[in-house]
Amino acid sequence: MRYLPLSQTDREAMLAKIGVSHVNDLFKDVPRDALLKEHVDLPTHMSEMEVEREFNGFANKNVPAGSVPFFVGAGAYRHYVPSSVDHLIQRGEFLTAYTPYQPEISQGTLQALYEFQTQVAQITGMEVSNASMYDGSTACGEAVLMARRATRKKKAILSGTLNPQYVEVVRTVTKYTDDVAVVNPVGTYFLDDLIAQIDDETSCVVVQNPDFFGNIQDYTKLAEAAHAKKALLVVVVTEVVSLGAVRSPGSMGADIVVGEGQSIGNGLTFGGPYVGLLATRQKFVRTMPGRVCGETVDADGKRGFVLTLSTREQHIRREKATSNICTNAGLCTLAFTIHMTLLGEKGFRHLAQLNHAKAVTLADKLDAIDGVSVLNDSFFNEFTVSLPMGAAEAVERLADQDVIAGVPLSRLYPDNPDMTNKLLVAVTETVTEDDMDRLVAELKELAHA
């Protein structure tokens, strides 16, 4: 067995040193009946070649996004990740290291985290960031919990245009700690209605930008209204590339920004692992959940980095910890940082422009189809389209033609008849003119059949 270095000779020598005669003697504390007498009923070991064959088998039963015109987004986006990113994160020194508890021999991971925190703070327009959460949705849940700690209030108001899966995650994680209400009918954003719900008990208002349906808002007035009631504004960004073109939540007055960072540096991988962003203002640093990296000096006075503020964490604070989160998204974070470093100011803005330009192009093309209309006032690289038929069925039929057209909103709002004909369409830099024309042609055919 290729991963197990001990030979039978080694094992015998080691048992002798320990002073027992059989390895099962080391399991003597296991209740007699519970120690298995034979192997559990699963296949025996396989060669690497056989393992690869098995996984090729799984893979061949899927349709890779890159093999077809592809327009699916809704919180995960297909961007092109430079090969150098993947190469670097696979270096054993990054890939096979643990959480950097011993800073003297973890400066690589730590400095990269410090760069990550700076980048996240910059794009969100915030003062500080943590070293990542699991993903955007759980980061959103953590933001609501954090707002409770920061404000010592527990009523959270969620916008009707927040990603519905995020809404569900917030509801789950706050079930026993906060009161959560979704205001505005799903799919709509009425500033005044939202403001009307904010009262002295409100810990935070949670909104998304661009929102789940693709529309872009300026939340400055909402922030002012929240602050007037000593509530926090939480802004969710699920497509971080938008921050290269859209005003930052920080500039609108957000107190906590959470995001899904997958778009930068990380592939789709069927939904995970991704990278949750959480940025906030300096004054909330000690209520912030998750790992944080900070600058310090070593015994020689040289700059170095360490995990810090650990007194917030569960290994010190136990039940009083800011969060139960322990593992974060280290390697995905690194991929984010490296990709963002390759982009830089210029590339990040260019990428955003390119995404937006392509989306505008497709929106115009789709809008021109009889019976199809784009519903958005504004958008970045994703928008909602109304079809003259059920969107779920349309997507299935187009998939049979090797076009994956987007997300039928009925998949996320199964009980909402308003959503039946609506399709969420995302366009990134990976989409070609040919891809767009294929979608348009297939949709025309379907619409007129």
Binding site: V40, E48, S137, H356, P414
Partner: protein, 485 residues
């Protein structure tokens, strides 16, 4: 040697990617356009490669040497796992593609679920938790949901003193109070104290087994029975599953829920602190409360249950824990690890990891002070009694290991012994490697006892950095680069 920050190397004009030119188009951003400079620094590709290559070389990693961090199971990370996860048919699929186009992905998740259920002897598994602590939350939420369904408002979770910090933190998130159960002198839960603590207010117990002292809880079945008899549930922290995988099924011990750290037992790489994955196996009693989404066998192949509905299989589900379906990338790697070992190899994983740990204990117990009698499971616990009168602190001793070429073991955990040093070699270390490690430790003990204090107090001397000032970092946190005035 020194590596600057990207902000000190790069600038706003340098760019390490080439992108298609943007043609003419009508802006549809609704006027919410970003005008100000973001402040990002860019590097060309060659500069970027070099920067992160150099940084990487300041890390310690499994690929470089033994990584004896107790409770973390730092084992070999096979590269075939990294290869298969990058197959376009697995790496380049979207969680919201039509299910007809991801049948292989659902098959894979179902297959992994089957392996996990079979290895644990449990009837159900929740696949979406994204890490161990997230799995704990899943398990405790399921317990709470089950109790709610029974109409019982129990308020207390029991946990031994030696519990991982995540256990109480998780229980608190579900509104529970924690009651600590003391340990016996032999490092196990005090069964009588536990029984005394049980009552109608107790929702359940969170117990790590093998426990954080590296010992198997001998009375575990009796504990489970007592908890069940009192109407509570048994949550098992599965962080140490590596010691028993393929040898013992938690289902046979009376466990109701247990998370499995795929990144520990099944070797999805730690990556400098994640991502992890923490699927949770569930008993019959808790299975109905599992979170959405999950894979089911439908009429046209596999299907996904994505919503809690008023009737149907998900009616009692406590809800959704994350967007999408969980840590697929970790699932793929874990399944590749499992298939590579097979049922025979996995049992050997447990045996060899336990053998290596006991061998370390046997090889060091004459010079270091083992906290409890053996046999231990896959990690062995020492305390700092052997350092008494040497003037060498546990931390100093650990830092001196860095100069010997090793990552230190886990220190000061578990809290039940003084100056704890928890050593877990894992099954992927050779005898030669373990012998060298033992030799280094023996050398250090000798140095400590012979009064060579300088070797310890200033350690590490040979690392990329000397001892870092953690107090300063915490007192006035500098958490990001800012442009110098």
């Amino acid at each position: 040697q020194e590596e600057l920050l990207i902000y000190e190397i790069g600038n706003s004009q340098t760019c390490g990617v080439d992108l298609e030119e943007v043609g003419e188009f009508k802006n549809r951003l609704g006027g919410v356009t970003r005008d100000n400079e973001i402040g990002l620094a860019g590097l060309s590709e060659p500069e970027c490669m070099r920067h992160y290559t150099r940084l990487s070389r300041k890390n310690y990693a499994i690929d470089m040497g033994l990584y004896p961090l107790g409770s973390c199971t730092m084992k070999h990370n096979p590269r075939i796992n990294e290869k298969v996860v990058r197959l376009p048919g697995l790496g380049d699929i979207h969680p919201l593609q039509p299910v007809s186009t991801v049948q292989g992905a659902l098959d894979l998740m179902d297959t992994l679920a089957h392996w996990l259920k079979t290895l644990t002897g449990m009837p159900a598994v929740a696949m979406s938790p994204k890490a161990g602590a997230h799995g704990e939350l899943c398990g405790v939420m399921a317990i709470k949901a089950a109790l709610d369904k029974r109409g019982e408002n129990r308020t207390v979770i029991l946990a031994p003193e030696s519990a991982h910090g995540t256990n109480p933190a998780t229980a608190a998130l579900c509104g529970y109070k924690i009651k600590n159960i003391p340990s016996t002198k032999d490092g196990r839960v005090d069964l009588q104290a536990l029984k005394d603590a049980l009552g109608p207010d107790v929702a359940g117990i969170m117990l790590t087994n093998p426990n954080t002292c590296g010992l198997f809880e001998r009375d575990i079945i009796e504990i489970a029975d007592a908890v069940h008899a009192a109407g509570g549930y048994f949550y098992c922290d599965g962080a140490n599953f590596n010691a028993i995988v393929g040898k013992v099924r938690p289902g046979d011990l009376g466990v109701d829920a247990m998370h499995i750290n795929l990144h520990k037992t099944f070797s999805t790489p730690h990556g400098g602190g994640g991502p992890g994955a923490g699927p949770v196996v569930l008993s019959e009693a808790l299975a109905p409360f599992a979170p959405v989404p999950y894979v089911v066998h439908g009429e046209d192949g596999f299907d996904l249950v994505e919503h809690v509905t008023d009737d149907g299989c998900s009616k009692d589900s406590f809800g959704r824990m994350t967007a999408f379906h969980g840590q697929m990338g970790m699932n793929i790697r874990a399944l590749a690890f499992m298939m590579s070992h097979g049922t025979d190899g996995l049992a050997r994983v447990a045996e060899d990891s336990v053998l290596n740990a006991n061998y370390v204990m046997a090889s060091l117990s004459d010079v270091m002070t083992a906290s409890f009698d053996g046999p231990c499971m896959h990690e062995c616990l020492f305390d700092d009694r052997f350092l008494a009168d040497t003037g060498v602190a546990t931390l100093d001793f650990a830092k001196a290991m860095i100069d010997e070429g090793y990552h230190p073991m886990t220190m000061y955990f578990p809290l039940v012994v003084h100056g704890a040093m928890l050593i877990e070699p894992t099954e992927s270390e050779s005898k030669q490697s373990v012998d060298q490690f033992v030799g280094s430790l023996r050398h250090l003990v000798e140095q400590a006892k012979s009064g060579n204090k300088d070797l310890f107090s200033g350690a590490p001397y040979l690392a990329p950095r000397k001892r870092l000032d953690e107090t300063r970092a915490a007192r006035s946190p500098v958490l990001r680069w800012t442009k110098p005035e």
